[in-house]
Symmetry: C2
Subunit: 278 residues, 2 copies
């Protein structure tokens, strides 16, 4: 018999984890969600073996917190004492420094192991209805051990690799948040700023892949992403300032008709992309 996995929150990530655990492993999956219709649907789908309560935590080998960052911390504050000391608890939040500041002291207090986890997978739809077992195929699985024992990190890593992740990256919360500000948060801010142009509603017939790609993630969950942006305000603001500076240089070259500067800036961009083999 496989491990007992408890998933807290059956949104896009929690639902996809549940489906992947049920489809690709022999783990039994218990899930909690504030919406009983979601739990009913997940049971019907075979995504979970049972709908749980906080009491289900007592038998968990692994707990995945698939909630907004502060809600994940609050859940542990409230129910952490039910978690056995053999259990590994992982969040799935898109920021790590704030989480890894609050969680390890709670883990120590309640006696379980905490490891930060960020599955680099998502889509521009949210909620259980958008979840799928194959969401993590080939994606990067980022772990921030935050002082957890090596054996626990190995155990979590091996479990997660069974869900289809393409690679695991071990890093610090600081490094994670600095990189995510660039790779994920900045494109989301950009997408939103982009579609605010008054030309946007008339784009059909005049657009192709470039419009589609930049605007895709403007369909954002603003409550979740506001929390993620504010929890990572310093690195994200630094990336935004850099982008504003580089955009302004390009804008000024275009406005001034300065072809030499313009070509040289575009060339730099092309060379960076090419040097990455992309």
């Amino acid at each position: 018999m496989g491990s007992h996995v408890v998933i807290v929150g059956l949104g896009l990530i929690g639902g996809s984890l549940a489906k992947a655990f049920s489809d690709f492993t022999d783990c039994s999956v218990t899930a909690m969600d504030t919406d009983p219709t979601v739990l009913k649907k997940a049971l019907e789908d075979g995504a979970i073996s049972q709908a749980g309560t906080p009491e289900s935590l007592c038998r968990a080998d692994y707990v995945f917190l698939c909630l907004y960052p502060q809600a994940a911390v609050d859940f542990i504050r409230r129910h952490g004492e039910k978690i056995p000391s053999s259990c590994i608890v992982a969040d799935t939040c898109g920021i790590k420094e704030e989480i890894c500041r609050q969680m390890p002291p709670l883990a120590q207090k309640f006696g379980f192991t905490f490891i930060g986890f960020h599955p680099m997978a998502g889509k521009e739809r949210s909620g259980y209805a958008a979840s799928e077992a194959y969401l993590f195929q080939g994606a990067s699985c980022i772990l921030t051990p935050c002082g957890a024992p090596k054996a626990a990190v190995e155990s979590l890593k091996n479990l997660l690799l069974r869900l289809g992740f393409g690679q695991t990256v071990l890093t610090t919360p600081q490094e994670h948040d600095r990189m995510i500000a660039f790779t994920s948060q900045l494109p989301h801010v950009l997408a939103c700023a982009y579609v605010l142009s008054p030309q946007c509603p008339n784009h059909k017939g005049f657009s192709a892949g470039s419009y589609r790609d930049v605007s895709r993630v403007a369909r954002i969950n603003e409550v979740l992403w506001s929390e993620l942006f504010l929890d990572n305000a310093q690195p994200l603001t630094a990336e935004l300032d850099l982008l504003l500076e580089n955009l302004t240089s390009l804008r000024n070259a275009i406005a001034a008709g300065d072809g030499d500067t313009l070509r040289s800036l575009l060339q730099k961009g092309r060379e960076i992309k090419e040097s990455l083999g992309e």
Copy 2:
């Protein structure tokens, strides 16, 4: 026997038009290119029936200029007198106002019909090697008639629809350039500014779809795109100024920890995307 099509320049667009005409219509395709190895490859591929010279223009029913904007105008200045009066000449440039300022007087002088054409299709690779017959499948075919007779516009439109375009849009050069500044040029400027971040070379393991989508077109042909940007400097600068303003509002809300403003800006973006059914 189908029409005689002459294609000038076998890059990504010219090569793809040649392949689409040869695969999907009974037109005979003659092409010119400054690179003899490209012509040889296109003959081997069956993309063209023959390699031409400017003299081939004498028998053309349709001429497609698949060159950079000013090179297209210069080509007509030099060889326009060889084009028969029954012929329809179309450029394929990404900007239209500058082209449609220079071309109609030349068409009048030499006695042929000119229609502006912009196939809304492309990819982040350039040159004949990247060309493909299916490039235009489902894409928008934008035409700027610039005073050409209705029958000629219908004739060109019907010919092009045989290549797989999903729709045709008739518009003015001004409207075209204003829309393209937003839908195509702005994402290219953005992609370049984005990859200039010092975090970019280290993104692997920390990135997924958002990074990939925003950075895709940073692999740019800087000579072509500098010309396109400078030919459309006013609308593009206006879009850039708007984007800088909206990005700055988002940046300031994040830096100030102002969750209400941040949520409200992100919500606006989401609502625009949703209202477009995207």
